[in-house]
């Protein structure tokens, strides 16, 4: 599904190498988790994969089902099936949430040569998805993320994911800023989307999210590289002992 090979990335504006050779394969139907201390390059990886400006790939490759991601514009990556749930969802005053969702979905469908969804069908479709995430009609009408609480913003990210139905989902610290109930709600939303054709990459600091979204594979990232890969038990090990031991062993 997602294939990252020897990915090297630096900041465009300064001579600072962030990713120093990341290798990662996420298979369809699997949930991979990336854990790691602050500044290890986790968020940079998610931004580079989704096509944000400000980063320069100096070596390596990233492909989605064999298609070179790094060559595509952000919107092409989305149409190809990549989705990033932002750590800090952006507020867009003046653009209604429904308009935003429908524009995005229909743009993707158009890019894939599919028919656009009518306003009525779309309304029904979104309402159903929103219900399971406990997003009410009022929240759908409001401008995108404007005045949303931290929990509402994250639920809105998952709603977008559910509506757009991507093949590869990257969740960047989706648990940050969530209380226990919100985390459960968001996790249920993600779990509902798990299926054989879809891959997940869950980026998190803490093991607690992984109690709700059970990963198949856990990677530890440090200093721009993946330093250890294991099963779900690796997350528990981090929770108990911190990153220090693993990082030491890796050096």
């Amino acid at each position: 599904m997602l294939s990252i090979k020897n990915l090297h990335v630096k900041l465009e504006d300064e001579d600072k190498q962030i990713l120093k050779g990341v290798d990662l394969e996420v298979e369809a139907g699997k949930v991979h988790a990336i854990m790691g201390p602050n500044g290890s390059g986790k968020s940079t990886l998610s931004y580079v994969l989704s096509g944000k400006d400000g980063y320069e790939v100096t070596d390596g490759s990233a492909a989605l089902e064999g298609e070179d991601l790094l060559d595509m514009d952000p919107e092409e990556r989305a149409a190809a099936g990549l989705f990033l749930a932002f750590q800090y969802p952006v507020e867009i005053p003046g653009v209604g949430n429904m308009t935003f969702l429908r524009t995005a979905l229909n743009a993707q469908r158009k890019a894939r040569g599919e028919d656009e969804m009518s306003a009525t069908d779309f309304l029904k479709f979104v309402r159903e998805k929103a219900k399971t995430l406990k997003i009410d009609a009022e929240m759908l009408k409001r401008p995108v993320n404007v005045g949303f609480s931290g929990g509402e913003k994250k639920r809105n990210e998952i709603l977008q994911m559910a509506v757009l139905g991507p093949r590869m989902c990257i969740l960047d610290e989706t648990d940050s800023g969530l209380d226990v109930d919100a985390m459960k709600l968001v996790s249920d939303g993600v779990n509902a989307l798990r299926d054989e054709g879809r891959g997940f990459l869950v980026i998190t600091h803490y093991q607690r999210l992984l109690d709700h979204i059970k990963p198949d594979v856990v990677h530890i990232m440090a200093n721009g590289r993946i330093v250890k890969t294991g099963g779900p038990e690796l997350a528990l090990e981090v929770e108990q002992n911190g990153y220090a031991d693993i990082m030491e062993a890796a050096q």
Binding site: A79, E91, I92, V95, A104, A107
Partner: protein
């Protein structure tokens, strides 16, 4: 005091070209008074403080700069609205294309038809609000209009108008030079929506005087046509009585030169005046919104919301003032002027002013210019919205605060459609 030579010459040339003002009927006196004002103040010059950002040359020369009429592919705006249409072609009334103006609670006369009469209800309004609006800043083009207007509509509203009055200004001739003067008098508790659309002429000078009596409500939605080469100077003068409401919104697309002045006096307590504008332009587009709101009563609210989208060398101007007179306590004044510069070539010139002589008021003002928000753009693109479409969405969002000043959702939606279409055409 003698005028500077350049101003004197320009004024003389223009007055010679225009000839004598009509001298019979009730309108003779206000016309003559307006001519006297004009002779005293002279036509605007680039050196005048009030014209620092907008060169008046094309507006004051004797002959208009020729402007070809523009054939739009789409149907004119407000086509779906149930309304009373009054059509002017190059400033000349077109009876064939117009509706019968009879409507309960509303009496509509044409200036050209009634100006010769000895008495008319518009006597006392025609030129009066314009006169009031000449102090403390002179507006010579409005005085010229009062003196020389060839036609216009005089609308007397005594009840709730059952449908909007729609003034349609078509432009056909390359060299047309139209001067129209409209008056609206709303009696106590009366309500009217006035729609205006179209470019009107190669050069257009228009005045609208609106007298809103106690508890009356006036809504105004205007779309200035897409003819790019046209030049226009328009003035709105409004006076508001107690607990009355005045809301005016203007959408402008293209235009080599548009100067929209709006002068509002809040003279009755608890009155509400909102004036808003959204414009989109590129190339040698020059758009100037000049607004002057005077609070002269207690507990009134005023809002000025002006948004401009500028690209490819376009210029936007905003001169906005809130004057709060002594004793106008509990005034709530708001003024915002913002421009979205879609490239590095465009410019926005703003002069926001507050002048306050009361001590218990809330007045806020802000003026910004900036580019598209990169974070928002990336967020939209990451969801699959192509860059052009994402930019358009953010542009419409930027204009939203101004468009939301239109109370009627159907009219607001139609304005948004026009903005979208304009942006779409820029992506061809």
């Amino acid at each position: 005091m003698a005028l500077p030579k350049q101003k004197q010459d320009a004024t003389d040339t223009m007055l010679t070209a225009l000839g004598a003002v009509p001298a019979s009927g009730w309108s003779a006196a206000p016309r003559k008074a307006a001519l006297d004002r004009l002779v005293q103040m002279g036509l605007p010059q680039g050196r005048d403080e009030y014209w620092k950002f907008t060169r008046p040359t094309a507006l004051i020369q004797a002959d208009p700069v020729p402007a070809p009429a523009f054939e739009a592919a789409e149907a004119p705006i407000f086509g779906e609205v149930d309304r009373v249409k009054l059509v002017f072609v190059d400033g000349v009334f077109d009876a064939e294309a117009s509706d019968d103006p009879a409507m309960a609670g509303v009496k509509i006369d044409r200036l050209a038809e009634v100006a010769e009469a000895d008495i008319h209800w518009a006597q006392g309004l025609y030129g009066q609000l314009e006169t009031n609006g000449q102090d403390p800043v002179v507006r010579p083009l409005a005085a010229l209009n009062t003196a020389y207007a060839t036609d216009g509509v005089l609308i007397h509203v005594t009840g709730k108008a059952e449908k909007p009055v729609s003034l349609i200004y078509r432009h056909v001739s390359d060299t047309s030079d139209a001067i129209l003067h409209n008056c609206v008098k709303l009696e106590e508790g009366a309500e009217l929506t006035l729609l205006e659309n179209g470019p009107a002429a190669a050069r257009f000078n228009k005045v609208l005087e609106v007298d809103v009596a106690d508890n009356a409500t006036f809504h105004h939605v205007r779309a200035q046509g897409r003819d790019h080469d046209r030049h226009a100077a328009t003035h709105i003068f409004a006076r508001l009585g107690q607990e009355s409401t005045f809301k005016s919104f203007t959408f402008t697309a293209n235009g080599k030169l548009t100067r929209n002045e709006c002068v509002i006096e809040l003279t009755g307590d608890d009155a509400v005046a909102h004036v808003a504008g959204a414009c989109v332009g590129d190339g040698d587009f020059h758009h100037d919104d000049t607004v002057f709101v005077t609070h002269d009563a207690v507990n009134c609210e005023s809002r000025q919301v002006f948004k401009k989208v500028l690209r490819n060398g376009a210029t936007g101007v905003f001169q906005g003032k809130i004057l709060v007179k002594e004793g106008a306590q509990k005034t709530d004044g708001y003024q915002i002027s913002q421009s979205l510069l879609l490239d590095g070539d465009s410019q926005f010139l703003a002069k926001p002013e507050l002048e306050i002589y009361a001590d218990d008021v809330a007045c806020s003002h802000g003026s910004t210019s900036g580019a598209i928000d990169e974070e928002g753009l990336f967020y939209l693109r990451s969801r699959g919205v192509p860059e052009g479409k994402a930019t358009d969405l953010l542009t419409i969002a930027f204009l939203a605060e101004a468009v939301q000043e239109i109370d009627d959702q159907g009219l607001a939606d139609e304005i948004v459609e026009r903005i979208s279409a304009w942006l779409d055409r820029r992506r061809d």
